[in-house]
């Protein structure tokens, strides 16, 4: 009996202590409320400390200088205009003069200058700025960046860096650990009203005097679920209106129940990234041999991957890796070809043949050719693709063992180069990194968690440098096509599939704008176009 009492007391204690630490805001009448479900692992409302909240804040509470428009070209935002010096080393942004922070203080060019420097000096994620941005000068509404060297990708980069208020961050040494409640203050269309960890709920209230005019939505709630299954149930049962993910695609396997639900509609757009791709370890035999890489490319049944793993929403990619969504997509590059005969021929031609007749080809040394396939265990669609490729390879006489690892271990193993083929995905933003065209993933000089940096051919690196060195659109266009061509020629990696992303939303919501980078229908543009008919 005594035990019971003790347990009961403890339980009561726990409960009361919890009641203390959460407040429940009351909701008002006929506001237009958009409830968004997501499975991103949000932790805090610190945009510096929590990578995912950082992204979320970019489309709710904060504004960047420019954004990447639906047509994949920069559009004005806090910067109403900009000029780029011919040598691409001086960027001048003219800041709008009617922007204000949520706390009422006006947003000035000084804030912009401060922000850029603050990111450069304090944000681990912005390390690249350190040896690039030499100085930032302010002249009236103009903010001018002087770079140490030409940098062509600056505009693209800057759309992910929002301007932050100097009067909040001015004297914050370490942004990662700053606990002040004003850390959420921005200039965006919405202000963060509450983050309730227990409820996994962000509530954003409309910013009535937003400098670009009022958004069409009065309140946005982002509701965090741990499993996609739970989220889809929430969508189908009307707990949330739509789905948001940054850099991920909506799992097609979860579409049918939403179609059955009846009141869910789908917007579609070609995904900017590559949801499943493989890269070669060019340091190792026989991957270092182009013919072998081509043989592998012929061995893979792309249509099957598109149909089975991506439920028919996929299409066969080209040798250029990046999908047509890209502004300067090179449409001369041929589609990937599934042709086991060619594959076999190529393998024979480079002396990889099955001499002992056990169905497995031997390498020059004479032992069975068994490749190590390194894959992301936490992404079932990637694992499934790997499974497919493995059986495709087996069909042309190449054996393989699959190493499926969780993200961190995957990264570590990849960094040690402990693989023959590595399976990964290129996120939308990822394909724009560096010299764009997914070069960020292959350029041997790069470092970073998600990227392979496995490819160091002179030609390619030069092309990347050239692309990085110019901010002039027509030059960029030319180089983009070149880089894609080079990718085809050297084949450091293979896009296994391109996909049509689907973005489910509840019937009654209309006129979404699709943003290829910031999570499909839920993005900075939609706030001003989306409407709900009642």
């Amino acid at each position: 009996m005594r035990t019971l009492v003790i347990f009961a007391m403890a339980a009561l204690l726990a409960l009361t202590s919890l009641v203390a630490c959460v407040e429940g805001p009351a909701d008002s009448g006929e506001d237009v409320v958009l409830r968004v479900g997501t499975t991103k692992p949000f932790k805090t409302d610190s945009r510096f400390a929590d990578y995912w909240y950082g992204v979320l804040s970019n489309l709710t509470t904060h504004d960047s200088l420019i954004k990447l428009g639906p047509d994949m070209t920069p559009v004005p935002w806090l910067a109403e205009s900009w000029t780029i010096s011919d040598d691409s080393t001086e960027f001048t942004f003219t800041i709008v003069d009617n922007a204000t922070w949520h706390d009422g203080t006006p947003l000035t060019s000084a804030d912009v200058a401060f922000s850029i420097q603050y990111y450069r000096d304090r944000d681990p994620q912005a390390g690249w700025m350190q040896d690039l941005i030499e100085s930032v000068s302010v002249d009236g509404n103009d903010v001018t960046l002087s770079l140490t060297r030409p940098y062509g990708n600056l505009m693209t980069e800057f759309m992910t860096y929002s301007v932050i208020p100097e009067h909040v961050w001015g004297d914050v040494e370490d942004p990662l650990t700053y606990e002040g409640t004003d850390r959420t203050i921005g200039s965006g269309p919405f202000a963060l009203k509450s983050w309730d960890a227990a409820a996994g709920l962000f509530v954003f209230e409309i910013n009535d005097d937003y400098w670009r005019g009022e958004p069409n939505v009065d309140r946005v709630e982002f509701s965090v679920y741990r499993t996609m299954d739970a989220l889809v149930m929430a969508l189908a049962s009307g707990d949330v209106d739509t789905w948001w993910d940054y850099s991920g695609e909506f799992p097609y396997t979860h579409v049918p129940p939403l179609q059955d639900a009846g009141d869910i509609e789908f917007a579609t757009a070609t995904f900017l990234g590559v949801p499943a791709a493989l890269g070669f370890n060019l340091e190792r035999e026989p991957m270092s041999d182009l013919s072998f890489r081509q043989a592998v490319s012929y061995a893979i049944d792309y249509q099957q991957i598109a149909d089975l793993v991506f439920a028919g929403y996929g299409s066969v990619p080209t040798y250029g890796f990046v999908p047509p969504t890209h502004a300067n997509f090179n449409d001369d590059i041929p589609q990937m070809e599934f042709n086991q005969a060619k594959a076999a021929g190529l393998l024979d031609s480079i002396g990889i043949v099955d001499t002992d007749g056990d169905g497995i080809r031997e390498s020059e040394k004479g032992d069975d050719l068994t490749l190590t396939l390194l894959t992301r265990g936490d992404k079932t669609s990637i694992v499934r693709s790997t499974e497919m490729v493995a059986s495709n390879l087996r069909a042309v006489g190449i054996d393989s063992t699959v190493k499926a690892l969780d993200t961190s271990t995957w990264i570590a193993t990849k960094e040690e180069g402990d693989y023959d083929l590595v399976f990964f995905r290129a996120t939308p933003w990822g394909t724009l990194m560096h010299a764009s065209n997914a070069s960020g993933y292959f350029d041997a000089r790069r470092t970073g968690g998600g990227v392979l940096h496995n490819f160091g051919a002179e030609e390619y690196l030069d092309a990347c440098d050239a692309r990085l060195a110019t901010a002039l659109p027509e030059e960029q266009a030319e180089l983009d096509r070149t880089i894609q061509e080079l990718h085809q020629r050297y084949l450091p990696g293979i896009a296994l599939v391109w996909i049509e992303s689907v973005y489910p939303y509840r019937e009654g919501w209309e006129n979404w704008t699709i943003d290829h980078i910031y999570g499909g229908v839920v993005n900075s543009f939609s706030w001003f176009t989306v409407t709900r008919k009642d």
Binding site: Q130, A199, R226, W429
Partner: protein, 310 residues
């Protein structure tokens, strides 16, 4: 003393194991796509977090910190580990303690009845049912429950601990509503486990002369069961519960994931994924301490339940 040694080993284990794992904790701070041609700021961060020092130094710091109640700093949450843990711990206990008590109570009553009517249809039914529950994969059953009661019937929320903004109803009621399903599932598994214990101990207690005596005194069978037999089955049940504690934590972990419950389970799972060393150390430590406390409490209570051991 044994408790202390155990504690020390666990502290060390919690420190070593995560660091044995490949993977760079910083990766999770800067995100999957982030890249750092010049990683200056990262190295800075690394030294801020003391990750650049030799393990032994880190270990020393960690132990020292613990002694002065400093649990370290979470890379994942970028806040003192203790805050994150105490927050999540509350939720887990809120789920576990009632489940432990309820489960034990249910098991005691039904297990007793089953044992009393040993070999009867009632016994077979009860034992069968609990064995079945005992055998089902936790998360699988949890998923089914969520699917049926929350999704199809829509009686309960689709997971989480509260509806936050939508708590026009008093907060506690709201939480109660949210915790009902997960609580039920955890309770079922706890009960299933205890049921077997209670049943077998009551069955053996039936051999005791004092049971015969109680019957001979003219007590009704219910009276014998609940006053004399069960009373003596409590002690073993207590011991088992204490030993089980760690196991219940594990079980709760999966169920928390299914129900998006913001407890220790999900915390640990994320921490492991993110290689959040300090958080992992602390979480392991906390859980272990809970188990130790549970055992300690059991040792304290035992004599109350069994006078012979006074």
């Amino acid at each position: 003393m044994r408790y202390l040694i155990a504690l020390f080993v666990i502290v060390s284990l919690g420190f070593i194991l995560p660091r044995l794992m490949p993977g760079d904790p910083l990766m999770n701070i800067v995100g999957e796509e982030a890249y750092y041609a010049s990683g200056g700021a990262l190295d800075e961060l690394r030294s801020d977090l003391g990750l650049n020092q030799p393990l032994i130094v880190q270990y020393g710091r960690y132990l020292g910190g613990l002694l002065i109640g400093d649990w370290g700093y979470s890379y994942l949450y970028l806040r003192p580990v203790f805050e994150s843990i105490s927050e999540h711990m509350g939720w887990t206990l809120l789920l576990m303690l009632p489940a432990v008590v309820l489960g034990a109570a249910i098991a005691a009553v039904l297990g007793g009845l089953a044992a009393w009517n040993r070999g009867s249809r009632k016994d077979a039914g009860l034992t069968g049912a609990f064995l079945l529950a005992y055998s089902m994969p936790h998360y699988w059953l949890a998923m089914l429950v969520l699917f049926v009661f929350s999704f199809h019937l829509g009686w309960f929320p689709l997971g989480k601990a509260t509806s936050g903004a939508a708590s026009s109803l008093p907060y506690v009621v709201d939480v109660g509503w949210h915790m009902l399903l997960p609580l039920a599932v955890v309770t079922v598994f706890k009960a299933a486990y205890d049921f077997l214990i209670v049943r077998s101990s009551v069955v053996s207690i039936y051999g005791e002369d004092y049971i015969l005596m109680a019957q001979a005194k003219g007590l009704s069978s219910m009276a014998v069961l609940f006053k004399h037999a069960l009373r003596n089955a409590l002690a073993p049940l207590l011991t088992v519960t204490a030993i089980q504690f760690g196991m219940i934590f594990s079980g709760t972990l999966l169920i928390e994931v299914v129900f998006s419950w913001p407890g220790m389970g999900t915390l640990m799972y994320d921490a492991i994924g993110a290689r959040d060393y300090p958080l992992l150390q602390a979480a392991f430590l906390i859980v272990a301490i809970c188990v130790l406390i549970a055992n300690f409490v059991a040792d304290m209570l035992y004599p109350k339940l069994d006078p012979r051991t006074r």
